[in-house]
């Protein structure tokens, strides 16, 4: 059945037709780009997962942005350092894994671990203001990576390359209707592909395991948790540091999977958007992942509109609007969501409050 006349009829309705044109544009451009949207969502989802793990245990971490930046830089710079040591061994056919890349990845996660341990120490042991501690991490990461990048990139050294994307069989991706779902999750590098595993794993862990129950208890009422024998301090340390590793993975994704280089400030606010995704996802891993996908869609749309602008009246209307508006959309969306348009979400009760043991002297 040919539905073209119907569509043209809908598009022709004054004003309301624009809405149909917008829907038609989204339906036309989004599924073929599902893989890129997932790539945009990967660092957001991992950072949001870090946020969930921290805040569920009662620690606010706005240093995620800086943690990711430091990890992205570390992954790249360690790749630069170790690439010449190893002879150009053949990369594995799937994912293009090489030894230098693995070392770079491990270093990135290690740095994230150290940084989040610092945040944990400042905010748990010293009971410093958690937001100030996070801000310091952001400033420090920006400064240190900028400083070292200036020194190292002078010689424009070659990095260790990047993880490559797995190419799923076309039989799967060409399936009508659902093929884009396969390419979304399978047309990815190792980090991008692992995200969904981490998200589902964390969801189960948080709501179906003992540790998860304890995490939620500590985040809601640490004093009560302590009275039943949970070591609040230790649990918070553990959660913040494990969360930090996810942020580090997200950072490494930026510099050794999505690209093969480091740019100054390449995280570009993703750590903060991730916090909004976490809030919008009501502090659950799955919810945060869904929100991250939504943000990623907007980020990707901002680019698609420049590459393949919609035609017809919609294109004419959008041509009249400055292109920067579309770049600003994810950020405006974040503010709108924070303002509670999508419904109030309530943080863990003890979120952001330092905990002092009752028996502490």
């Amino acid at each position: 059945m040919d539905i073209t006349p119907l569509i043209n009829g809908l598009y022709g309705i004054p004003v309301l037709g624009l809405v149909f044109q917008a829907i038609g544009y989204l339906v036309a451009v989004l599924p073929p780009n599902s893989s890129s949207i997932m790539s945009q969502a990967t660092p957001l989802a991992l950072a949001a997962l870090c946020g969930v793990l921290c805040e569920r245990s009662g620690i606010v971490n706005i240093g995620i942005e800086g943690t990711m930046l430091a990890s992205a830089f570390t992954a790249w710079v360690v790749g630069v350092a170790v690439a010449p040591i190893f002879p150009a061994a053949a990369a594995t056919p799937i994912f293009g894994i090489t030894i230098p890349l693995l070392i770079a990845l491990a270093a990135a996660i290690g740095v994230a671990l150290v940084i989040s341990a610092l945040h944990a120490w400042l905010s748990i042991s010293l009971r410093a203001d958690q937001i100030i501690s996070g801000t310091i991490i952001n400033i420090a990461a920006f400064g240190v990576t900028g400083y070292l990048d200036q020194l190292i990139s002078k010689t424009s050294p070659a990095g260790a390359g990047e993880f490559t994307q797995f190419t799923p069989p076309t039989a799967l991706t060409n399936l009508p209707g659902v093929g884009w779902i396969f390419s979304m999750f399978l047309d990815q590098g190792p980090i991008g592909m692992s995200v969904i595993v981490f998200i589902v794993g964390a969801q189960i862990w948080l709501f179906r395991s003992r540790w998860g129950l304890r995490t939620r208890a500590v985040g809601e009422h640490p004093r009560a948790a302590e009275t039943v024998g949970i070591d609040v301090i230790r649990l918070r340390y553990r959660n913040v540091m494990i969360g930090g590793m996810f942020a580090g993975l997200g950072g490494a994704f930026l510099s050794i999977e999505a690209t093969n280089s480091f740019q100054l400030g390449m995280t570009n606010g993703r750590g903060f958007i991730a916090l909004a995704a976490m809030i919008m996802g009501r502090w659950t891993p799955l919810g945060a992942f869904g929100s991250a996908l939504l943000f990623a869609t907007f980020l990707q749309l901002g680019q698609l509109i420049n590459i393949a602008p919609p035609g017809g009246d919609l294109g004419a209307v959008m041509g009249a609007v400055p292109a920067q508006l579309f770049d600003a959309l994810p950020y405006i969306l974040t503010i709108v969501i924070l303002a509670g348009v999508v419904g109030r979400s309530i943080p863990p009760a003890a979120d952001g409050q330092p905990y002092e043991r009752e028996s502490a002297t």
Binding site: I131, A140, G143, I152, G340, T361
Partner: protein, 389 residues
């Protein structure tokens, strides 16, 4: 909340004179700065290893720091340049510090800075041919109002729906960047100019009052610091701001309206940050390119934290960071140390500052027992009465 900020000199027994009082305020910042300078030296030595084909030089940190200092205060021009760099930091530091006093963390100083400059350039270009005594105040007012609007939005959202100001102000920063790019490459652009740049503000530019380029904004910044101090400590409104910052619930029971104070504080804070942008635009650049933007926003947070939000201490704190920015160029030329070292130094200063209870414990090790009050003072020592929660 009023834990002692620095160890009182124990062996010297004399009435607390001006000097010892000054020391009790300055001890922590001074020690912290010294430690950061040492750590910075270590980083420089370490980074020498990263650059291949350069002989290792133990004296490099000394070369770099002496270039930094002479670039900041080495001659009259350098001193004026330090003052010029410090001016937006005073405004920005006041903006962030004022927010801290009400328990709000305004990370959006960067965005308010940009939008303030945008307001100033729009008004300034429109008033470019109007006599200066009219053009300058109006252009500055436009910058102040624009920054105030940018601060009002997150403040309003916080009061109405509880949207956390930290995330919303950061998002406003990114929106500000795009707004600036859209306007400067769109309606404000000089027609047929090869690159996006606005017209000059002409008569609305701040006059030079000191040396080669010391503009009126320097004096305004000093006045602003005194004004904010007066506002906070000598007016009813300032008292309410501090009361809400210290204890929101208690303030409400006392009949104050914390939500109203939140909106007013964010608006006022935004206006101050807007003045920071105004001072750079009307005083230094006189026109705006699409790459307009500096690190003033982050630097302002550092200034406010270092000064513990005290409006009068913000001035020397801003001079310290402004001096670093002013001298960094010469340091890069003479010692090939990237200007980004200044960011590193700032971060380490803040880091030591947050860890200052530990520092204090180390400084006093063996002489006295330090109770847990030491760590409780962390927040108090950073945010004045209270920091964001």
């Amino acid at each position: 909340m009023s834990a002692p900020l620095a160890p009182a000199p124990t062996q010297v027994r004399r009435p607390p004179g001006l000097l010892s009082r000054a020391w009790s305020v300055a001890a922590v910042p001074v020690v912290v700065t010294v430690l950061s300078v040492l750590l910075g030296a270590a980083i420089m030595l370490f980074s020498e290893l990263l650059v291949p084909g350069r002989p290792f030089d133990w004296g490099l940190p000394l070369t770099a720091y002496s270039a930094l200092v002479s670039g900041a205060v080495g001659n009259p021009d350098a001193i004026v340049s330090t003052l010029v760099y410090s001016t937006p930091l005073v405004f920005g530091g006041l903006a962030v510090g004022f927010g801290f006093k009400a328990g709000l963390f305004n990370i959006g100083a960067q965005g308010q800075f940009l939008v303030g400059a945008l307001g100033a350039v729009m008004a300034g270009v429109a008033l470019a041919n109007v006599p200066a005594p009219i053009a300058i105040p109006l252009a500055a007012l436009a910058g102040l109002v624009a920054g105030g609007i940018w601060g009002f939005i997150p403040g309003f959202l916080k009061a109405v729906s509880g949207a956390h100001e930290v995330v919303s102000t950061i998002m406003m920063n990114y929106v500000a960047v795009q707004l600036l790019a859209a306007l400067v490459s769109g309606p404000l652009k000089v027609p047929r100019s090869p690159s996006p740049v606005t017209f000059d503000v002409g008569n609305a530019a701040f006059p030079v009052i000191l040396g080669r380029n010391g503009h009126l904004g320097i004096a305004l910044a000093l006045l602003a610091a005194i004004f904010v101090w007066w506002l906070l400590y000598r007016t009813t409104w300032g008292f309410e701001v501090r009361a809400v910052g210290a204890n929101r619930d208690a303030a409400r029971y006392a009949g104050m309206r914390p939500k109203l104070i939140t909106v007013a504080t964010m608006t006022f804070s935004g206006a101050l940050a807007g003045l920071a942008g105004t001072s750079v635009l009307l005083g230094v650049t006189h026109s705006m390119t699409s790459s307009f933007g500096t690190t003033v926003g982050f630097d302002s947070i550092a200034v406010a934290l270092l000064a513990r939000s005290n409006p009068l201490v913000i001035v020397p704190a801003a001079l310290l960071f402004g001096g670093m920015r002013a001298g960094a160029g010469l340091m890069q030329i003479k010692a090939q140390i990237p200007v980004e070292l200044v960011d590193v130094l700032q971060a380490t200063i803040l880091l030591f500052l947050v860890a200052s209870p530990v520092l204090r414990r180390v400084l006093r090790a063996g002489s006295r027992r330090v109770g847990p009050a030491g760590s409780d003072a962390v927040v108090a020592s950073l945010g004045g009465e209270a920091a964001a929660s």
